[in-house]
């Protein structure tokens, strides 16, 4: 039981570190998805521990939300890529200070 929670926290950390260090918007976004999946793993593990279904239902809803987020996110990233021919988050730096 604890193993699953430890694994999910490792996955979450990998995702969070990836968001902070990677420079390609698509990869950053994939790291966010990794974080959401780590949450799913934790939810399902805790559902097993608690003996009720709330966590499993939550995991399904998280998948739906993640799918919606992909639609919106890829639309935004693709528009930026078509405009600038680059998906690097460092190149998008008109707004600062």
């Amino acid at each position: 039981m604890t193993d699953y929670v430890v694994l999910s926290s490792i996955l979450f950390t990998i995702g969070a570190v990836g968001v902070l260090t990677r420079r390609n918007a698509i990869v950053v976004f994939m790291c966010v998805e990794l974080m959401l999946n780590a949450c799913n793993l934790a939810l399902v593990a805790f559902a097993n521990q608690n003996g009720n279904l709330d966590g499993q239902i939550a995991a399904f809803l998280v998948m739906v939300v993640a799918a919606a987020e992909v639609v919106v996110g890829l639309a935004i990233i693709m528009t930026i890529f078509r405009t600038r021919r680059s998906a690097s988050v460092d190149d998008a730096s008109l707004l600062k200070y």
């Binding site: 929670v5 999910s8 979450f12 995702g15 969070a16 968001v19 918007a25 950053v28 976004f29 966010v32 974080m35 959401l36 780590a38 949450c39 934790a42 939810l43 593990a45 805790f46 559902a47 521990q49 608690n50 003996g51 009720n52 279904l53 709330d54 966590g55 239902i57 939550a58 809803l61 998280v62 939300v65 919606a68 987020e69 919106v72 996110g73 639309a75 935004i76 990233i77 528009t79 930026i80 078509r82 405009t83 600038r84 988050v89 998008a92 730096s93 008109l94 707004l95 600062k96």
Partner: protein, 532 residues
């Protein structure tokens, strides 16, 4: 393990009679998507605007009826009921915030529908898919994106759900429902499209990052309490002795919510997004998102984590002080009006957090004294209306290249457009908290509750920050009134009745709430407490 084989299915009870205002909003949003699919382009603008405005007004009236009919609970301190098996809490504060979000939504639609300023088209891109600077974009220059109205309605629906969510899962879904349309709206500016797209991307990536933290917090609290329901979490907090999961989970939930309200150290997105987004979207977002996110934060921390007050209050002390200092100091050095207003919005988040710190148990509360919840809700009314009006004015000040938000270019605005400059000066003075404006009464209310709860160090910082903030607000007034206009100065475009009425109502409310705050304060106190 889980034994469900012999469980019989029980039909859930859903309180349609009290939920219908929110269903009207979602229904109208779906109808709006349908309109996009079937109506010819020239009819869409009018039908979308009428549908959106109509549904918002109907829902607002509905909120009044529903709030009036809420049953009284227990000792009468709270009124309300749980709709749909405890996932939605319909109580006084939720109704108050529903009304507030709907009012901001109506203001938002009026600004979205403004056509006169941009010369016959709305401020949204003709075709978001057309590349900036290409022939396709020039051909699309006469078109309009009318999808913005359903997007706005979905965002409003998400906000309404957010403030009335009764468990963590509903809160997470509502957080996403309100955020996703806003990410898209930020990227749809007609002019300065690169800035707008960049704002959308930054908002999206950081928003998704923070909602990941929120969700991991949900998972940990679920592991801690064995349930996502706020009432059950509160019981677990009161009874469990091991607090490790609770503290980590609470911190992660706080990251997600503090990001949405723009508290330091999670404020980095705000200036960029407020500057890059179309000004009409900024106006709506600044007012309504903050109201919704503070509503949700109050519900989470008061209802679910009320017993763990001594754990989260020190964290909030630090964050409130940091937010006020960061917002005020960075606003001092801004040269762009929208960025300056964004940093001032961060400082206001700090003032609101000061009010959140005023939480005390009912037993400690002096009878008849204003509670922390009432103070924060009142501040949200005053701040939201002022901000909506201020950004609406920013949208009117233009030069040949579109909106001109560089502060120096506003020189001499008071000479050639005395009315607009006067109204803007009024909004700035209200944000600074000058007496006889709504900002003063709002600040007085939150400082008062924080003081009575013993958070005096935070209140001292807040008073000093207000004094420092007055400097950058007055600096703008000096530029408008005491600098001579030159050839590069921006001018004021005459708005249609839509924008004008939004600005007019905001200005009237700013004065009225400063002179007679009583009725709205009474309304906030009638709202009572959260149901548990």
């Amino acid at each position: 393990m889980i034994a469900l084989a012999d469980a019989t299915f029980v039909r859930p009870h859903i309180a349609y009679g009290s939920l219908w205002p929110i269903l009207v909003i979602y229904g109208a949003a779906c109808a709006g998507v349908g309109i996009e699919a079937v109506l010819p382009r020239e009819w869409r603008y009018l039908s979308q605007v009428l549908l959106t405005l109509g549904s918002l007004v109907v829902a607002l009236i509905g909120v009044g009826f529903v709030a009036h009919a809420l049953p009284s609970l227990g000792d009468g301190a709270a009124r309300g009921l749980f709709g749909s098996e405890g996932t939605i809490a319909l109580d006084g504060p939720a109704m108050f915030l529903w009304g507030l979000v709907l009012v901001f939504g109506i203001g938002g639609v009026l600004l979205f529908a403004e056509r006169r300023v941009e010369g016959g088209v709305t401020v949204f891109a003709g075709q978001a898919a057309a590349l900036p600077g290409t022939e396709t974009e020039r051909r699309a220059s006469g078109l309009e994106h009318t999808e913005v109205y359903p997007l706005l309605l979905f965002a409003i629906g998400g906000m309404m759900l957010f403030v009335s969510s009764g468990d963590l899962l509903t809160m997470f879904v509502a957080l996403e429902v309100l955020s996703l349309p806003l990410y898209l709206l930020c990227g749809l500016a007609r002019r300065r499209r690169l800035l707008s797209q960049e704002a959308a991307m930054k908002y999206f990536l950081l928003g998704a990052f923070s909602s990941g933290f929120f969700l991991y917090g949900v998972a940990l609290i679920y592991g801690y309490a064995g349930s996502m329901d706020f009432g059950a979490i509160n019981e677990a907090v009161a009874n469990n002795s091991d607090q490790t999961l609770l503290v980590i989970g609470m911190g992660m939930l706080a990251v997600g919510l503090l990001f949405k309200v723009g508290a330091a150290p999670f404020q980095a997105w705000m200036p960029d997004v407020y500057q890059g987004a179309p000004t009409a979207v900024t106006a709506f977002m600044a007012a309504a998102t903050k109201a919704a996110a503070f509503g949700a934060m109050l519900r989470l921390f008061y209802v679910a984590f009320g017993s763990a007050r001594w754990t989260w209050q020190p964290m909030m002390w630090v964050i409130a002080i940091l937010t006020m200092v960061v917002g005020t100091v960075l606003a001092l050095v801004q040269s762009d009006m929208k960025r300056m207003l964004a940093y001032s919005s961060i400082a206001h988040t700090g003032f609101l957090l000061t009010g959140v710190l005023g939480l005390r148990s009912v037993a400690d509360q002096n009878p008849g004294a204003i509670t922390s919840l009432q103070a924060v809700m009142f501040y949200l009314v005053t701040y939201g209306l002022t901000t909506l009006g201020a950004f609406a004015v920013v949208a009117l000040v233009r030069d040949s290249a579109g909106e001109q938000s560089t502060i120096q270019r506003w020189s001499g605005l008071g000479k050639h457009s005395p009315v607009v400059a006067g109204v803007f000066a009024l909004f700035l003075l209200a944000m600074a908290g000058i007496p006889l404006t709504s900002g003063f009464t709002g600040k007085w209310a939150v400082f008062e509750v924080a003081l009575s709860a013993g958070a005096w160090p935070v209140v001292i910082v807040a008073v000093l920050a207000s004094a420092a903030a007055a400097f950058f607000y007055v600096r703008v007034i000096v530029v408008m009134y005491f600098h001579e206009p030159d050839s590069e100065s921006a001018y004021v475009t005459h708005p249609s009745v839509l924008s004008a009425s939004a600005i007019g109502v905001s200005a009237a409310a700013t004065i009225a709430l400063g002179l007679v705050p009583g009725p709205v304060l009474d309304l906030a106190s009638t709202a009572g407490q959260f149901i548990r």
